[in-house]
Symmetry: C2
Subunit: 371 residues, 2 copies
């Protein structure tokens, strides 16, 4: 293997690989990136066994070949290289020589044949959607997916197809038991319904990073155990979670007794301020709604208390209830519009938050009991 | 107490206090900042018992008074306040009310009388120096002071007066046993020589922060157990370390066998690159000097090796020796000129580094043994 590559392109390849490979791998080769040079350029593959990213990069290949090398080491080296053009050469004694400017690095390698093979996936049935739409859906759902729950089914985003007024949409749903979010976007093609379509949290986050700045179409194929997300030059294979997602429609309130309309930024900033004096563990802030407006207040033992008024338009009876401020702040941060509606039942019923400018997402936050 | 203060001025006061107060205090009051309002404005005092910072801020005082309040809590609140003008009021039930925009915070307080008193210090004998000169001196010495050595005398910068061609200068010296740096600047007035003048590392760092952006003169008075650093509106009381600094002149080489002149940035960047493949614990990089130039190289087990050529002008015989790359990089980072001289003895003798544009600082780095 012998090739020339622009340093920025190499750094881009390795930054991606770094996000995937295991930091404390059970097998040394799981810390490696597989480099494959061919007439088309350089292909880099990284995996943590639950997901694999395969991506193509522009390179001038003088001798095709392949090698696996520790992704972290090569990334560290690539970042500091002087000079724009980097030469990568597999030497006769099996080391990867990295040359740029006045620097020469010789890195230990792994045998490319030992690198884990990504299982094939039937791509006959795949849906196609706009990358911008997929970004918006992930941004509205990812933060609510449980990071590491022992209710295993909560550790991923559930994917399903449903119908909107505009036509068929694919909906992602995430919850950690304290809040639940869904968001949806139009698609064409076929959503090959498997028994379970639960995309793990890490996979969702990596897909989001990979489509950042890309504006074309993305294809997603689902198999029984894995999903394959693709756009030209990039292929992500994600193993689906083998667990059941709860029947989320059952927990969605079907009506409301009171509704408050409020400015999104005003509510978010006020919550940030008031929650400074919320108790650290519960982060609970009191919401007092009346025809006078919304009064937020919090109290932290030995520190003091806080209070702020936020103008709202309320329909229905006054109420006083508590929320974990962080959960509400994160939901408000996942929206883009300027006005938000809060649909409320009783003091211990779930609250539905909606971006008034966006019918394609819905957020539910559970209240907390105030003492 | 009742006063109006601009939010930015309050944030500035509390950011300073935050750097001083103890994060996990042995007594709760050591986490507090003392606020004293008088006709002149607001005075804020923070201490960790080894150092005390007293600083004055612009405020419109309606009712004089004083109170102590948790510095961290008030800082967190001040940072997020909406509105430019903040009202601070001590309420009848002894809480500090903080009002700005639509927010009201009521913070628990401590009795101002319980706040530790800063011992007085005789200021009759004090030196005066330019703030810029003091900044340069601290920047060249602070990083080399041991952070927490059991040779207690290394945990501070030694201060002495000495004579330069230009007249009397005050010299600061720091070492952690691996490198030693001194830097000096002109002063007027009197350096009241005490038995020990060892400024602790934390105090040195805080003084540096306090004089950032200030361009006037700074006065430093030394007592037997403390130093007092002052400029208009700011007073820092620092307890001196009760320990002996080694006789540093003994370890300074008095001559050299070989000397290399090198571009500072080129050497620093090359060291950064090559040291990526240095062994983590020792960080050691080989310096091979010959008439051909300087070859830097490193090797890390299981990872690989690195090498880079740096042009130098060498006087004297070729030599091969090792240095901890981080120590050399930090020394080069403390200089400002473009050319550096390395004065070398044998492979295990200390190396003197000098900024060719600066006679008022000197850096010594101990070599490491290469296997």
């Amino acid at each position: 293997m012998d090739l020339l590559i622009h340093r920025d392109e190499l750094v881009r390849a390795l930054a991606r690989a770094q996000g995937i490979v295991e930091k404390r791998p059970t097998h040394a080769i799981l810390s490696a990136v597989l480099l494959q040079a061919s007439a088309e350029g350089l292909r880099a593959t990284a995996t943590d066994k639950t997901m694999t990213v395969i991506a193509d990069y522009t390179a001038t290949v003088r001798t095709p070949g392949q090698v696996a090398v520790d992704a972290g080491n090569l990334f560290q080296v690539a970042k500091v290289l002087s000079g724009d053009i980097v030469t990568l050469t597999l030497t006769e004694n099996g080391r990867l020589e990295v040359k740029a400017g006045a620097s020469v690095f010789k890195l230990s390698t792994f045998n490319a044949a030992d690198f884990p093979v990504t299982p094939a996936l039937d791509q006959a049935r795949a849906l196609t959607m706009d990358a911008g739409g997929l970004r918006r859906v992930i941004d509205r759902v990812h933060f609510a997916v449980a990071p590491d729950d022992n209710r295993y089914g909560l550790n991923g985003a559930h994917v399903e197809d449903t119908a909107a007024a505009s036509g068929p949409v694919v909906r992602f749903v995430g919850t950690d038991g304290n809040r639940l979010c869904w968001a949806q976007a139009a698609y064409t093609g076929e959503l090959g319904i498997g028994r379970r379509m639960l995309l793990p949290r890490k996979g969702l986050g990596e897909i989001r990073k990979l489509i950042e700045g890309y504006d074309g179409e993305v294809s997603i194929a689902f198999g029984d155990r894995a999903a394959l997300v693709q756009y030209p030059g990039v292929m992500v294979h994600v193993r689906l979670l083998e667990a059941d997602f709860p029947d989320y429609r059952q927990v969605l309130p079907t009506g409301f007794k009171r509704r408050a309309l409020v400015d999104r930024d005003a509510l978010r900033e006020a919550l940030r301020r008031v929650s400074i004096l919320a108790t650290d563990a519960t982060n609970s802030v009191r919401f007092q709604l009346s025809s006078e407006g919304l009064v937020l207040s919090a109290r932290k033992l030995d520190a003091g208390d806080s209070r702020e008024d936020v103008p709202v338009e309320l329909t229905g009876e006054p109420i006083s209830m508590g929320f974990n401020a962080r959960f509400v702040i994160e939901v408000l941060g996942a929206m883009e519009g300027s006005r938000v509606s809060l649909e409320l039942g009783d003091a211990l019923s779930p609250c539905i938050l909606k971006d008034m400018d966006d019918d394609n997402a819905l957020f539910v936050v559970m209240p907390v009991r105030l003492d």
